[in-house]
């Protein structure tokens, strides 16, 4: 966090010299929906916009690219105001979700398109494009039309095409969403490498927390057009502040008032934690930390023991994820064997416990 703050301090407009990187306040009004997001990033930063569908991530990206006009706010890139600049005049490259490679052009000419528009001759543009394809390991596919490329290859051509204009801001809209699981793993690693080499600001939009955490230095979580949390991936994973993020990172999350080791939830029971805090806090614990019993466990302390009912069961990797309602709504993970032994079924009454050491409380 301090690292980010230091970077941001260097970006304050009007400070010494031209501020490098991105400094944006994006406001887009669309009738019932309003996007209002502040984004700053230093050159070399990779920022991920994470959020549920309809949160406004893609609108934010389109606003940065100039494909959607700003209703208010500002957009500065390396000290230059861009909010009134036409998209074709912005030093911005975009990798679209389904790549949008021009189907009538070869991979080479797709990549050469940008340099051509920048005024390079056909031969020069092609030479540059060949260099980019080489870097992406696609030299052998330079003459292929997009429909002959695999998903992973098309994605790399799309990245090469965006980079070939030498943008100061690279935007990636769900760059891995169109790939199947296996290709995705491979392409994600490659993209991570290319993003790490990229010297300007990169902003990517994703709804996949893993993509965000692997690819980005900083996450900005958007819900309903607003930023609900931002910070380093690890920090957000440990300290989720909304149900959406908690669900993404697989944590049970509650909000309450702390008094010493006890956190009293607004509606419901108290949770005992190891942290000693006071005031409004979040409490989080992983589903794996929950232990279920059919009968009230004897001998166990009454702390962090709740009477619940199974509302749903689903397979979650090699675990069974049980959704519980009752005193404390929570998700619990248990092995298939344990689930069978407990004869768990929707509607079954269970006791759930969590050790205080497995919980984590932090100020809200």
């Amino acid at each position: 966090m301090t690292d980010t703050n230091a970077r941001r301090a260097a970006l304050v407009p009007g400070s010494e010299g031209a501020a490098q990187g991105l400094d944006a306040h994006l406001v887009v009004d669309r009738g019932t929906f309003r996007l209002d997001v502040r984004l700053t990033a230093a050159p070399g930063d990779v920022v991920a916009l994470l959020g549920p569908n309809g949160a406004g991530k893609t609108t934010a990206l389109r606003a940065l690219a100039g494909l959607v006009p700003l209703s208010d706010g500002h957009l500065r890139l390396d000290g230059t105001a861009l909010e009134r600049t036409a998209p074709e005049a912005r030093p911005v490259g975009v990798v679209f979700q389904d790549y949008l490679l021009f189907p009538h052009l070869t991979a080479l000419d797709n990549v050469a398109f940008g340099p051509r528009c920048q005024g390079f001759s056909k031969a020069e543009a092609r030479e540059q494009a060949a260099g980019w394809l080489e870097r992406m390991g696609l030299a052998a596919h330079a003459g292929a039309k997009p429909r002959r490329l695999s998903g992973g290859q098309a994605q790399r051509v799309a990245v090469a095409r965006a980079l070939a204009t030498r943008p100061r801001l690279l935007l990636l809209d769900e760059p891995l969403a169109a790939l199947d699981a296996r290709t995705r793993l491979e392409v994600r690693a490659q993209l991570r490498r290319h993003l790490a080499e990229f010297e300007a600001v990169a902003v990517l939009v994703t709804h996949d927390p893993l993509d965000a955490m692997v690819l980005a230095d900083r996450l900005v979580v958007i819900e309903d057009g607003r930023i609900v949390q931002e910070g380093a991936p690890a920090d957000i994973a440990r300290h989720p502040r909304t149900d959406y993020i908690a669900q993404l990172v697989g944590l049970n999350l509650y909000r309450g008032e702390a008094d010493g080791h006890t956190v009293r939830l607004a509606a419901g029971p108290a949770i005992t934690t190891t942290e000693e805090l006071s005031g409004p806090v979040f409490v989080a614990f992983p589903p794996l930390a929950v232990t279920l019993f059919r009968d009230r466990p004897t001998g166990a302390s009454a702390r962090n023991l709740w009477r619940c009912e199974v509302s749903g069961l689903e397979t979650h990797g090699d675990q069974i994820r049980a959704d519980l309602t009752g005193e404390l709504p929570l998700a619990a993970d248990l092995t298939t064997a344990a689930a069978a032994e407990l004869e768990l079924a929707p509607g079954a009454a269970v006791w759930a416990t969590v050790k205080a050491t497995q919980t984590h409380a932090y100020p809200a």
Binding site: L67, E88, C117, R161
Partner: protein, 285 residues
């Protein structure tokens, strides 16, 4: 899923195990109330063409066709139809783009007006052209007094009349293709530094080329067969404004054999065009 998979597997080639079931199912599925009218329609469409072939004066055909009047009419027809198509392309494609890609008040009305010549009787179109571009027409009198240009009853008038009736075909066809084409390709081009026009020229135009080709063929065929507007606006002067359809009609009055011969030529031209473009767009749609 299962029934789909089954039929898919049955339709696919399976070496060593021929399956006839889909074929039989296809035949069994044609109800008589559809089959009979369908065959009648087919006969109705083909019979006149057959009659043309049956009654053709094959013996005297070479003489009929080598007359200079026939060649003049054919040449004029091909040239004017091609010119009308060119005019339609140059003006119609941008109009189609405006209709498909921009939003302006009254766009629906403009679109309806564009299609009006499709349903307007061509003779009415010819009268309207006379009133607009004729020597005393709204614009025509200005052309006459300012530039000394008189359009009616010239070859240019033939091209104008044909373009007037043919362009809507092209506009509608291209607009439909544009609407079906993903506008985000233009956005992608824009983010790569292309102006909107460059994006249109280098991305959209190649993408909608099949639609433009289809529209051009429709427009060209419509222009080739144009009769009403042409005879009204351009008259019927051999060598200058007498196109093939006009020549056919005139010949039918005093020399039916010549009319049949001319019709055969037009039929041959039409079939040639269809055959030449079959692979390009007929099978594609």
């Amino acid at each position: 899923m299962t029934p789909l998979d089954k039929s898919g597997a049955a339709a696919g080639p399976r070496p060593g195990r021929p399956r006839r079931r889909p074929v039989r199912a296809g035949r069994r599925g044609v109800p008589l109330p559809l089959l009979v009218p369908g065959l009648v329609a087919l006969a109705f469409l083909l019979l006149p063409l057959l009659a043309l072939l049956v009654r053709a004066p094959w013996a005297t055909l070479p003489d009929q066709l080598t007359s200079s009047e026939v060649w003049a009419a054919l040449r004029l027809s091909l040239l004017s139809a091609t010119a009308a198509t060119a005019v339609s392309l140059v003006l119609g494609v941008p109009l189609a783009w405006l209709l498909a890609r921009t939003n302006f008040p009254g766009r629906g009305l403009v679109r309806a007006l564009v299609t009006l010549p499709l349903v307007l009787p061509p003779v009415v179109g010819g009268v309207a052209l006379l009133l607009a571009l004729g020597r005393n027409g709204v614009v025509g009198q200005l052309l006459d007094s300012w530039f000394g240009i008189t359009l009616p009853f010239t070859t240019t008038a033939v091209v104008i009349a044909e373009a007037f009736v043919a362009m809507p075909f092209l506009v509608i066809s291209v607009e439909g293709t544009l609407r079906a084409a993903d506008p985000r390709f233009e956005e992608a081009a824009t983010t790569l530094g292309a102006s909107r026009f460059t994006a249109f020229r280098r991305v959209t135009l190649p993408l909608i080329a099949p639609g433009i080709a289809a529209g051009s063929v429709l427009a060209w065929a419509r222009a080739l067969g144009e009769f009403g507007a042409t005879i009204t606006f351009a008259g019927n002067f051999p060598g200058r404004t007498q196109t093939m359809p006009l020549a056919v009609y005139l010949a039918l009055q005093n020399d039916p054999d010549a009319a049949i011969a001319l019709s055969l030529v037009l039929l041959a031209v039409s079939i040639t065009v269809l055959a030449a473009l079959r692979d390009r767009w007929l099978t594609g749609s």
